[in-house]
């Protein structure tokens, strides 16, 4: 595959691996957090950890869209399908996320809810067009990458005059989540971040500058291919060695400082900040999520169906919260691999292969043998 295989090349990987080994000082340890689930997936899928020296450690961050989704939000989506007879459209990853009462969107579908997996928000608009007699709601989740397509869908629905389309908006923002990790009372040792790939194509590299300037943490924005990740780790090692804390961009083929201004304008037109939003693992964070602006309120599923968010406690032994903040590793959870498995996830980190627990279980558990 042209333009893909080049970024997975074994020879180049060995070269980078040796460079990291050479440059990492043997007298210290390096702890870097990859914020995004996309990076977590790449690291696990390609065995990147095997190419790192023992004193360079990767900590999985919270940037997996379904992992940070609290139970109460999935409950809202399920209730729309089961109680309001809505055609509920969701991205594939969301379908297995555990909700209250032993349900998930998949199980709600099995018990009669009209729940459809879609590949894009546009598919949900199309469904609304095809079913004028039914209400169609799109379960809009994800970070800045998936927000512009939701904005497009809403504007499209407006242009088409669709009265049966709405959005359950759970879009969240990356910088407040990174901030929450650095501000957490339990300080974890993180010397730098591998910064988001796709998110940064939208927001650019500028929003990470405070992390370098105010918190003294280097950020290297990296693509989702394994060579991108290795190169970013090497750049982080260099920054730490040099005592620098800068925002550097490894992913120059797709990201610049300003990002995609057209997408930003679109998001700004349709959405506004929520004062507070509860995240799984990170708790209630101010100004960390989006809702529809009043001008688009008619498309807000929460308003249309009177659906209110009810917080729900996680399973008491589930360590997703600590794992999402990098405080614990998946294997430090009592439920890992016995009660909580990809077939029967208890916590959201076990759902998507971007989640720290599912990634370790699926790709890396031979290391625990």
């Amino acid at each position: 595959m042209k333009y893909i295989d080049e970024f997975r090349d074994g020879e180049l990987a060995r070269g980078l691996s040796e460079a990291i080994r050479r440059e990492a000082r043997p007298d210290r340890r390096y702890h870097f957090m990859e914020f995004c689930g996309g990076h977590t997936h790449a690291i696990s899928r390609y065995g990147v950890a095997d190419l790192l020296p023992d004193n360079v450690e990767m900590i999985h961050g919270p940037g997996c869209p379904v992992c940070v989704l609290p139970i109460g939000r999935v409950d809202q989506a399920i209730r729309l399908a089961l109680d309001n007879d809505v055609i509920l459209c969701a991205y594939g990853d969301c379908l297995r996320v555990p909700a209250s009462g032993g349900l998930s969107l998949l199980r709600a579908k099995a018990s009669g809810g009209d729940i459809r997996m879609v590949y894009s928000s546009a598919d949900a608009v199309e469904l609304a067009r095809q079913h004028p007699d039914r209400q169609v709601a799109f379960f809009a989740i994800g970070f800045e990458t998936t927000t512009p397509p939701t904005a497009v869908a809403i504007k499209q629905a407006l242009a088409l005059g669709l009265k049966n389309f709405s959005v359950l908006c759970c879009h969240v923002l990356t910088p407040p989540a990174m901030m929450a990790i650095l501000n957490a009372p339990e300080r974890i040792a993180i010397e730098g971040f591998v910064g988001p790939a796709h998110v940064s194509t939208v927001i650019g590299s500028r929003p990470y500058e405070p992390f370098a300037q105010q918190y003294g943490k280097p950020v290297v924005i990296a693509g989702f291919e394994p060579l991108d990740v290795l190169q970013a780790i090497r750049m982080l090692v260099r920054q730490v060695n040099d005592g620098r804390a800068e925002v550097e961009n490894e992913f120059t083929r797709a990201v610049d400082r300003d990002g995609n201004r057209k997408a930003q304008a679109l998001v700004d037109e349709v959405f506004e900040l929520r004062e507070i939003f509860e995240w799984r693992g990170l708790g209630v964070l101010p100004n960390s999520a989006l809702r529809l602006r009043p001008a688009f309120a008619e498309f807000d599923a929460e308003l249309r169906f009177g659906s209110a968010y009810q917080p729900v406690d996680d399973h008491k032994s589930c360590e997703c919260a600590a794992i999402l903040r990098g405080l614990k590793r998946p294997t430090e959870c009592k439920l890992f691999g016995n009660v909580c498995t990809p077939e029967n996830p208890v916590g959201s980190c076990m759902v998507s292969s971007e989640g720290a627990c599912a990634a370790h279980y699926t790709y890396g558990r031979y290391r625990d043998a």
Binding site: M1, A13, Y46, G47, V66, Y91, G92, E343, Y366
Partner: protein
């Protein structure tokens, strides 16, 4: 004056506009007509022509019988490279053949949904008939039921196959041994991606064709090459990864695969990349996994490649001792990872 045959008063089936009706499954004249005009005529052979409730078949002289059954539910029914008809023939022949047996006969049971176009049904049965003829494995008995509209998905087909296994031949998922070599007969994931591309909801067009094929000819060639075969299996649902995990568990061994040795059509690789899927978990319908003694790997590879269905065959890994029965893979990048069981359905990732 002797009796003359009556004129044929039966009206021909309307394959252009006709549809399956409840009467076609009700046991009366309409059903008899459908069976005669649509099924028996196309699948024609001496056993089916007996027209009885079952087929009377010659008892095999030697060896043991192998029997396998498979239900086919596929959407869309017609996909690039095949349809549910030939799939139902190939799938069951392959299940018999990977046991080491020579497939002899098939049965076919149809569950039809009321309202299904008769023309489409005829296309499906034509495709079955052609596949059975090419494979030399006739459909000797069958059944038809009709369910009300909304209670089926057009057509479901269950086929059962019977074959004969020579006395000395022993193939089983339990026979993989440490040191054995693991081979595949060709590119992985073609069928599953052809099906996905054929679904309207994806809005995705590609020239990928299903690999649906009967493998007993290829398997014959493997037996003839003299290699010490331990396991044969066709990696259908759940793809290669699932099949290898099944074998690893059955045999109580581990496996180490080489990512760079995996034969994958670049179009399939690109489509999987685009959709966030892993081709190792995507279904095949005309591919074989073969596990053999280490020293015979090259002979087996040569035998595979000499057959038209095995030109892209490759040695992809080896069997090891492992109490955890892990299937692991050395990645092209130089790392290692587990190739795990498939969890539920493969769901595309968001980012």
């Amino acid at each position: 004056m002797g009796a003359t045959a009556m004129r044929d008063y039966s009206r021909p089936l309307d394959l252009k506009n006709g549809r399956v009706e409840m009467a076609h499954g009700a046991g009366g004249r309409a059903m008899a007509h459908l069976i005669e005009a649509l099924f028996a005529r196309r699948l024609d052979n001496e056993w089916l022509a007996q027209g009885d409730d079952g087929a009377v078949l010659p008892a095999p002289g030697a060896g043991r019988l192998v029997m396998a059954t498979d239900s086919h539910v596929v959407s869309p029914l017609f996909f690039p490279g095949g349809d549910i008809g030939c799939l139902a023939v190939h799938g069951t022949i392959n299940d018999v053949a990977v046991m080491g047996a020579r497939p002899l006969w098939l049965s076919a049971a149809f569950i039809l949904e009321e309202g299904f176009p008769l023309g489409d049904l005829a296309r499906i049965v034509d495709s079955m008939a052609l596949a059975a003829k090419e494979a030399g494995v006739p459909v000797v008995t069958g059944d038809t039921k009709v369910v009300e509209r909304g209670k089926g998905d057009g057509v479901f087909i269950t086929t059962t196959g019977v074959g004969i296994l020579p006395a000395a031949r022993e193939l089983s998922g339990r026979r993989a041994r440490p040191g054995d070599a693991i081979l595949v007969s060709g590119t992985l994931g073609d069928h599953g991606m052809a099906i996905m591309a054929g679904r309207d909801s994806l809005g995705f067009e590609s020239p990928i064709l299903s690999d649906t094929a009967a493998l007993h000819g290829l398997i014959d060639a493997l037996h003839e090459c003299g290699a010490e075969l331990h396991v044969l299996r066709d990696p259908t649902r759940g793809g290669l990864a699932t099949t290898l995990n099944e074998i690893a568990r059955q045999s109580g061994v581990g496996m180490l695969l080489q990512e760079k040795a995996m034969p994958i059509n670049p179009l399939v690789a690109a489509a999987c990349e685009f959709l966030g899927l892993d081709p190792l978990y995507v279904a095949n319908e005309g591919k074989l996994v073969a596990i053999c003694a280490e020293n015979d790997a090259l002979a087996l590879l040569a035998a595979l490649r000499a057959h038209p269905l095995g030109v892209h065959a490759a040695i992809i890994g080896s069997v090891h001792e492992d109490p955890n029965h892990f299937v692991q893979m050395a990645t092209t990048l130089g790392g290692k990872r587990i190739v795990d069981w498939l969890t539920g359905d493969q769901l595309p990732r968001i980012c």
